[in-house]
């Protein structure tokens, strides 16, 4: 594993959806509007932001589940353009979904769910080989091989998420996009699943793009964190740096909302409550998307989108008034 090699790179990714409005017209919903980041091999990048900011869309667009409007995606240095590239990439980049209840086909047994990627990419030649691989995968995620003949609805949420992870691991991927994999689970189960993600990373050398809205979870698992707001990355840097020294006003207010398990500290700590609501992505403010709620907003913010500038080593923020 070389330290400088980027496994997954996204450059100026845009994903606009056409929303029909009126009789013939349509409006552009800018779900993701120019996002760039890169993940090194074996690293975990946490992607945080509030609901509707485009985190999930970023994850899905990388796998070409939505055709990107513009922008480039590189996997292992290779530009993903054609359908063939996408199929090849899907053998290496897998996804774990948010809702373990709807992401498993109710009509299939666990063996068929976990074995599906093996069938699609024709990775197992004989049935015995397939069965053995499925049993191995179930063991890897802490399930029993006797679970293989059951249906998904016979399992609890945590177990279902494990099945989802086993399915993602079936093709021996190098990178897993985790789309809020723990937000639908109980807190106690969340810890188990997150520890499992860490163990798997250590054992299999996986690279994660970890999407979540829970800052503590993201801080725990990530090496670097990117903060998203309305389809833009507003701040990106090493996890501890972002957590301890946030510079962008949005990150500061986001972090001030994290509950602190220390009453003395919490008493003196002032929570920054943002004014107003998130603007609709159908009708984005000009310039910086955050300026309508930003305490530091000036006239310049309305005119031009601030670029990501380096405020500390490896630490970037997009704001005119740092």
């Amino acid at each position: 594993m070389s330290d400088n090699k980027y496994l997954l790179e996204v450059r100026d990714l845009k994903q606009h959806f056409n929303i029909p409005s009126g009789l013939f017209g349509s409006k552009k919903l800018k779900a993701v509007d120019g996002v760039s980041f890169a993940i090194k091999e074996g690293e975990t990048l946490g992607l945080v932001g509030e609901s509707g900011c485009g985190k999930t869309t970023v994850g899905r667009t990388i796998l070409h589940l939505y055709e990107p409007t513009s922008g480039e995606i590189y996997y292992d240095g290779q530009h993903i353009k054609t359908k063939k590239d996408v199929t090849e990439m899907r053998k290496k980049v897998q996804m774990v979904f948010q809702d373990p209840y709807s992401s498993l086909d109710p009509r299939m047994t666990v063996a068929d769910i976990v074995g599906e990627p093996l069938d699609i990419h024709k990775l197992c030649k004989t049935k015995a080989e397939r069965d053995a691989r499925i049993a191995e995968l179930l063991k890897t995620v802490g399930l029993n091989s006797e679970h293989a003949s059951r249906y998904a609805h016979e399992f609890s949420g945590g177990q279902r998420q494990r099945i989802g992870i086993a399915r993602a691991l079936a093709v021996n991927p190098k990178c897993i996009i985790c789309d809020e994999p723990v937000s639908a689970l109980d807190v106690s189960i969340q810890a188990q699943i997150i520890n499992m993600f860490e163990d798997l990373q250590e054992k299999l050398g996986l690279t994660y793009l970890f999407i979540a809205h829970d800052l503590l979870v993201v801080k725990h698992i990530s090496d670097r964190i990117a903060v998203m707001y309305l389809g833009h990355i507003v701040e990106m840097g090493p996890a501890n740096e972002i957590y301890n020294h946030p510079t962008h006003p949005y990150s500061i207010s986001l972090l001030s909302a994290v509950p602190i398990p220390d009453p003395d500290y919490a008493k003196n700590h002032k929570r920054i409550v943002l004014e107003g609501d998130v603007p609709s992505p159908l009708n984005m403010p000009s310039g910086c998307p955050f300026r309508t709620r930003c305490p530091r907003a000036t006239e310049k913010c309305a005119e031009e989108m601030p670029p990501l500038t380096e405020v500390a080593p490896e630490h970037f923020a997009a704001c005119w008034n740092l």
Binding site: R60, L63, L65, T87, R90, K91, Q94, M95, F97, Q98, D99, S102, S103, L104, D105, P106, R107, M108, T109, A111, E116, P117, I120, H121, E146, A148, S149, R150, Y151, H153, G164, R167, V171
Partner: protein
Amino acid sequence: MKNPDTNSLPKKNPLSFQLDVSKWEKASSAEKEQQIIERESVTFFKDGMRRLWKNKVAVVCAFVLLFIIVAVIVVPMIYPYNYADQLGIAEVGQLPDATYNNLGPMEYSNTEQAKIDAGEDVFPHLLGTDELGRDYFIRVVYGTRISLSVGLFASIIVLIIGTLYGSISGYFGGKVDLIMMRIVDIIYSLPDMLMVILFSVVFKQTLAPAIEGTILEKLGTGMISIFLVFALLYWVSMARLIRGQILTIKQQEYILTAKALGASPARIIRKHLLPNCISVIVISTALQIPNAIFTESFLSFLGLGVSIPMPSLGSLASDALNYIYSDVYRLLVPALTICVIVLSLNLLGDGLRDAFDPKQKK
């Protein structure tokens, strides 16, 4: 009894209510193995059949249908009379025996009575004869055979076309869906009974030379034109139903998951979408069979269905209308047969849906 390991355990306080650990024995690995309750690995089909077997009503209906199917296959082989034979017409040169016509159940004609008197064995007419002196029982059996096969094949045709069309339209959505569904709307808006009659007339004339000498000739143009009418017109409601189901199921996250795994559209439709709307498919197919039986009898009533002398339950019932005051049983027998078949199919369809839909399981 005593396990050496227990020696290392702390001594029990004599006043404590705690169980004395030293009296316990550790489970051997063989005993532990016994505790693992492993359910037999079963396929989806086997699992469904097992649940279907527990549903008494459905099982009874399945047996009733099975009995009817076996009966319509076996009875014509062993029954001494044929559905087309006019028993009164004797050999050339002899006068027909008019007493064969319109016999009541278990009655004999004059010729037969004479034979019995002479000591010969004559098989009784279980349900009498019709106005042309044909044995009515065998005609009902034969009519059931025709009606069942028309129902079965017509609904299979509808099932195949409707499912294919509906799932493609629903899965691809957008412009494909728009165009495909407008075609369905056009067919739907045609007055279907008129179209059925027109098609039957046209097919009856154009098909006759085309199928001459082939195995299809035996089926008769009437039957084939019924199948063609079904294939051309009746799949639309099935296609709409399937499309609606596919549209809802398509939104589920597991379809997105399958796409992320790299599954092709054909695989997604086959492995994920169709199995998840199996209950709708089963129910509407089970309902399509009686629908087809009704349409067939309607066409037979108009003389466009099966060709004479071939009977169907519908044509038998409509012929019996003339004798409703004298011989009610002639109407009741085919009508009851239709009832039993339709009821059994509906209840069996319900049972199948319950059995093959693990989510709806009680």
